[in-house]
Structures are given as C-alpha cells and as structure tokens.
C-alpha cells in the first residue's frame, strides 16, 4: 500500500481506526508527528491515539488551511480561525486536548484565546456551573471564599 502512495503523503490513523491521507507538510505542523517523521520511527501509517476521527478531521482541516494560506493575507486566516474555533464547549475541549497532545501550536493558541474570550466577562457562578461543571448544590453547600479565608492564619 505504501508504494502506491506518493512519497510525501502520510496516513494518520485515529483512535477509532479511521484513516486520513494527509500531505507530509500538513502533518508535520504537529510537532509530535514531526518528531516521529524526523526520527524515521514511523512507517507511512501513523497512529494518533486519544484522538477520534471527528476531532482529527477538524485538526487536519485547520492545518491544511494554515498550510495553504501561509502566503495569503493574515486577516483571511484570522477570520478562518475565529470561525473554526466557534464551536460547542465539548468539541472545543476535545480539540484543545488533541492540539496539546499533538503539539499543534497555532491551533492551541487560537483555541485558548477563544476560551479566554468566552470566560472573560462571565461571573464566578457562570464559570463554576457552565465551565467547571459544578452542580448547584455543591456551590450552595460549600462557600469557597469563606473556606479560603478560614484557612489562612494571620499573625
């Protein structure tokens, strides 16, 4: 199979077994994959554990766009980025984890910036419930600030 492929193509296999054929230039945007390619410890098929097909497709889409539009206007890329990261929370966190794990710096930057902007104007209760998944009773039964204040010792 590897002989039928062009030399600069790589196959990425997601955790649920789906395979993606990706040009090497795109794949090496992930530093983890780049290291594997450089060390020549990988055959043409590179397993990408912990990342399922859905997320991997998104990451590849992002990398492809960034690779293509390197010469293009930066504003174009920015609008793409902002649209790309505009997703539901679950997908966002999965993407962040994948980007961190695969070490794709541009993606991680864009995603973290997005999350930062999401939580920027929110109240503490919002953060607890919407982002950290606290249940309401947890907040009612434990007074965080009070606990923190009790823990300190003044001299």
């Amino acid at each position: 199979m590897s002989s039928s492929l062009e030399k600069n193509m790589l196959i990425l296999r997601s955790s649920d077994g789906e395979e993606f054929i990706v040009p090497e230039v795109v794949a090496v945007m992930s530093k983890a994959i780049k290291n594997m390619v450089e060390d020549e410890c990988a055959s043409n098929t590179i397993p990408v554990p912990n990342v399922d097909a859905n997320i991997l497709a998104m990451v590849i889409e992002f990398c492809k766009k960034h690779d293509e539009s390197e010469a293009e206007a930066a504003s174009d890329l920015k609008t793409f980025d902002s649209e790309f990261v505009n997703r539901g929370q679950e997908a966002l966190y999965d993407l962040i984890t994948a980007a961190n794990f695969r070490d794709v710096k541009e993606l991680l930057d864009a995603l973290c910036q997005n999350v930062a902007e999401m939580i920027k104007g929110k109240s503490v209760h919002h953060i607890r419930i919407q982002f950290l998944g606290y249940q309401l009773f947890e907040i009612l039964t434990s007074n965080f600030i009070w606990n923190i204040w009790c823990d300190r010792d003044f001299d």
Binding site: L108, C112, A116, L132, N147, I148, R152
Partner: protein
C-alpha cells in the same frame, strides 16, 4: 473545562486581564492557588510584556489619616522597567535618579495595563491603593521626573488629609497593615512591604 489539564488552564488564564483574574480567584480552590502562584504570575507577566511594559515598584509609602474615620492608603511609585534599562532579575536604577529613589526597595509588581498605558508617556507614576475601601488603584498619574512625583503626592495627600498623617498612630495601625499586607502577599501581586525601612511617612 474541568477535565482539561492544568497546563492548558494556565495557558487560558494567562490570556486574561488582571482584573478578571482577581475575580476568578474565587471560582475554586485550585484556581485560587493557581492564580496566586508566583510562577503563574511570572508567566502572565511574560505573556503580556510584549504589549505592556513591565512596571517596577520603586517605592512604597503608607499613610494614615489623623481623624477618626480612619483610612489607610498605600502609595506605590511605579516606573516602567525599560526606562531604567533593567532586567527582570537584576534590577538597578540609573545613576541620574535621586538617592531616595535609588535606595528605595523596588520590585516588579505586574503588568497592569491601564497603569502602563498612562505611565508610558512619562517616567514615573503613582498608584494609590486605599486599603480601607479595598478598591483597586485609586489614582494614576504620569510624571516627567521625580520632583513632580513628590509634588503630586503632597498635593494628593494635602487634599485628602489636611492635618497630615500622624506618627503615633503608626503603632495602632500596624496589626491591620500586617493583615492587609498578608492578604496582598497571598494574592501575590505584592511582596512583603511591612519591613519598617520600606514603609515611610512622607509629608
């Protein structure tokens, strides 16, 4: 977000402003300790220095009013780091500054955006932090040289306390100052100020 690793949380939080971070300290204990962590503060500082210059704390004063509705005021004299050609680790102030400034304890206090913006026009700035109201920085000004700083301080405090601060009140104020300092130190945006040398009365 709960299942993101701490590394990523740091990455996200270091993109927020200080005001937001101060609010988010009360989100949860892990976040509190994370945001108060000196390493996090340094990381935050480093991320934000490209846009905002580092500020160094040149001197610190403490005032206390003589009248009964007591108010406690901290004054931070702040300079922009690049003006003094200082590195993050070794901080020396240029020869041309006045002795009281040269000998004053100084430290990097943060990258408060608003402060930095205002001060960028001048060389010195004053941030006045009123402990009694516990509000943020009360007054911010930029000045061309340190004479102006002293003058402005006089003006500010003459308006505030016409009688001037009293020395004997210092003793009574001390426990409270200590507590406030502890709180500030815990928060991490300020290191220990309570040594008698660095706390001075002027006026």
């Amino acid at each position: 977000m709960a299942n993101l690793s701490e590394e990523i949380i740091i990455e996200i939080l270091s993109r927020l402003t200080i005001t937001t971070l101060c609010r988010f300290r009360s989100v949860s204990k892990p976040w509190f300790s994370l945001i108060s962590n000196p390493h996090f503060i340094k990381a935050h500082l480093n991320r934000n220095t490209i846009e905002h210059d580092r500020l160094i704390l040149l001197s610190r004063f403490l005032f206390r009013s003589r009248n009964e509705n007591e108010s406690l005021v901290f004054v931070f004299v702040v300079g922009v780091a690049s003006e003094f050609e200082v590195g993050f680790d070794e901080m020396t102030i240029g020869e041309e500054t006045e002795p009281w400034l040269r000998n004053a304890p100084r430290e990097v206090i943060g990258s408060l955006e608003s402060m930095s913006r205002m001060i960028s026009s001048g060389r010195f700035g004053i941030a006045i932090w009123e402990a009694s109201t516990d509000g943020g920085c009360d007054a911010l000004n930029a000045f061309e040289n340190n004479n102006d700083v002293t003058k402005a301080l006089h003006q500010y405090f003459q308006g505030k306390f016409p009688e001037g601060p009293s020395k004997h009140r210092w003793k009574h104020a001390k426990p409270r100052i200590k507590r406030i300092c502890q709180r500030q130190r815990d928060i991490g945006w300020m290191s220990e100020p309570s040594s008698s040398k660095s706390d001075r009365f002027i006026l």
